[in-house]
Amino acid sequence: MAIRIALAGNPNSGKTTLFNDLTGANAYVGNWPGVTVEKKEGRMKKQNDVILTDLPGIYSLSPYTPEEIVARNYLLEQSPDAILNIVDGTNLERNLYLTTQLLETGIPMVIAVNMMDVVRKNGDSINIAELGSRLGCKVIEISALKGEGTFAAAQAAVSAAKSGKKALPPKFSDKVESCISQIESSFGNMLPQSFGRWYAVKLFERDEKALEKLNPSGELRSRTEKQITDCEREMDDDSESIITNERYEFIAKTLRGCYKKKNAGGETVSDKIDRVVTNRILALPIFALVMFLVYKISIGTIGDWTVGFMNDTLFGEWIVPAATSGLEDLGCASWLVGLIADGIIGGVGAVLGFVPQLLILFLMLSILEDIGYMARVAFIMDRIFRRFGLSGKSFIPMLVSSGCGVPGIMASRTIEQERDRRMTIMTTCFVPCGAKMPIVGLIAGALFGGSAWVAVSAYFIGVAAVVVSGIILKKTKPFTGEPAPFVMELPAYHAPTAVNILRATWERGWSFIKRAGTVIVAASIVIWVLNSLTFEGGLHYIGEGDEKSLLNAIGEVIAVVFKPLGFGNWQAAVATVLGLVAKEEVVGTFGSLTSMANADLAMELVEAGDSSKLTLIGQEIFGGSGLAAYSFMIFNLLCAPCFAAMGAIKREMNNSKWTFAAIGYMCGFAYIVSLIVYRLGMLFTEGSFTVSTAAAFIAVAALIWLLVRRPSKSVKVKSAAGVTADA
């Protein structure tokens, strides 16, 4: 039987560094069931029978954030053989708070005091032996970054697991202890055997999850409630605060005499940096400069060059032609060559083309994260984002989305509050991504003489869509309620470490390749099949022929829906559908479906900004109507993103109802905005008034109402203990 050891600790305590050091490259990254928090598991180096689980970084085991719930469920339900609790030696008092809760689970435990090198450098001293005897478990000094003492700590955890010696819970004051033991005895056998003390403390705190699980009878419930209220009256505080204070008191008592800080309260280097970086006046300009550089390097210069190389040269000139001729030499049927070379390799290539650019972007973001600047960004942006119902932590997903929505959606993971995270996922794709820019270029070139204002307005529409959606959604039932208090520990700044940065970059990049790759392959095949088959004269393959493909037929049906928006022809409908595979497809589709009859030429013309030849598309598709073309652009910018991004939404929402809600909302919002713009535009320019114009007016009224109405009432949380919570 393998020995399972859980790594637990505060965020930024060096947990992941320790985990990586102990497991080497053996890490397996999975997802915790039910919530979007990544779970990492790995076998220990040189000791294959030891499995380490990296629990999410948490401050407490109270079920407040998804991370806390995940960690708590793991400990109680999977009960690992031992816990290796990593604490930051530079801030023992705060870190030991979680330790007091971990000790209560009774699971054999070892404490690794990390960053001992920094502790010594600061001239602080910790009496490790004394600390261990007071906490009743083995304490080991380590420096995860330098790899000092890490294996000794792991070995200690292994022997603790083998011995099965239960951890001792911290002792509280007599009054509280007597109340907890009363609860313990009155619940008796109802408490899960090995977690008796844990549950007794949680019942004292009126923890809803614990009550739900134990589900005591009405009589027992009210008896317990009375014991708790008696204790509360005696101590003049509520039970949760009592326990919180008892924990801090226990820590203070434990540390007395065995932890000495040399210069407590002095200003550190981090404080000095923060004074500048989070300064009232300088914060935003500094932040804008940093983001400009990140963007310029990853999306602009280097990124642009790599995307061009990957798409045009690597796939366009080398792999696809080589695969085509190779398959032809093998004597494959022409439809099979088409499917593999154009359908699958071409489709996958379109996604892989973004990988180098994304890796550069991820690399830069990882550096900012590693040195500690990202935490400050969330703080700086919170002031602005709070106004329209989003959190400061939504900024990074939005910024990343302007490059590509897939990693943008993935970046929303750092937002603890489920409500805020869902809202970020629903709105982040409104920010025009790199792949949508060719559409903007096409419309600008084809009908507006290449005016730069079209691109500017596209960004403006994207940002406005985020703001408006934030305000509207915040007032709907699932999103109402007290805004979560913004409380975030700011880690000390430190020099970036190559290993951490490269690992973080690679992990993000790889999950992009894996996730995007699978969805794209499937979608490419479907679209290729639809585009290559026809019903005319029986179902058969048309190849390069001119017959009407299934896609055309479908396009004609869908086109009806777009009539009110001004682009109800089958070409525009097909382009919109193909845009779901990849937004760049739109331009190529117009190129091949007009008398230009050349997808690549259309792409090149857009890239070169050659509007004189693009007007052909404007004439044939939109009948020369700038308004119809603009409406088409708005719809394609705001509606459901590409399949890769939808796949990412599904993964991050981890709930099909919310996935459909998100995609449905985007499509609905896009439709309404396009309808309003086109119909009101027609009314003012040509004086045309139809049923659709009336619908547009109703839509305007509805939007205004949604924006200014009073928020709906949130569902009141019922306290399971039978006491009403003053929510």
């Binding site: 407040y64 989070t278 208090p485 913004f486 700011l490």
Partner: protein, 70 residues
């Protein structure tokens, strides 16, 4: 007694009370905001502030700063 929101930058204060729903109070307690704790404002930008509590820098917004009475 006043909300932390109005505390001066650099002055050390003692937390007298923490308000809010039990959930929020508990979360703030977990983060170190408990009655009797020493707290000082390191910097403030609008209503958002960075405070020093239990040896760590913690960023809070105006809503949170209103809940903490010093």
């Amino acid at each position: 007694m006043m909300p932390l929101l109005f505390a001066k930058v650099g002055e050390e204060q003692t937390i007298k009370r923490v308000t809010g729903s039990p959930d929020v109070k508990k979360h703030l307690g977990d983060m170190g905001f408990t009655v009797g704790e020493r707290i000082s404002v390191l910097s403030a930008a609008g209503e958002n502030m960075i405070v020093s509590i239990k040896g760590a820098r913690v960023a809070i917004n105006g809503g949170t700063a209103r809940r903490i009475i010093v």
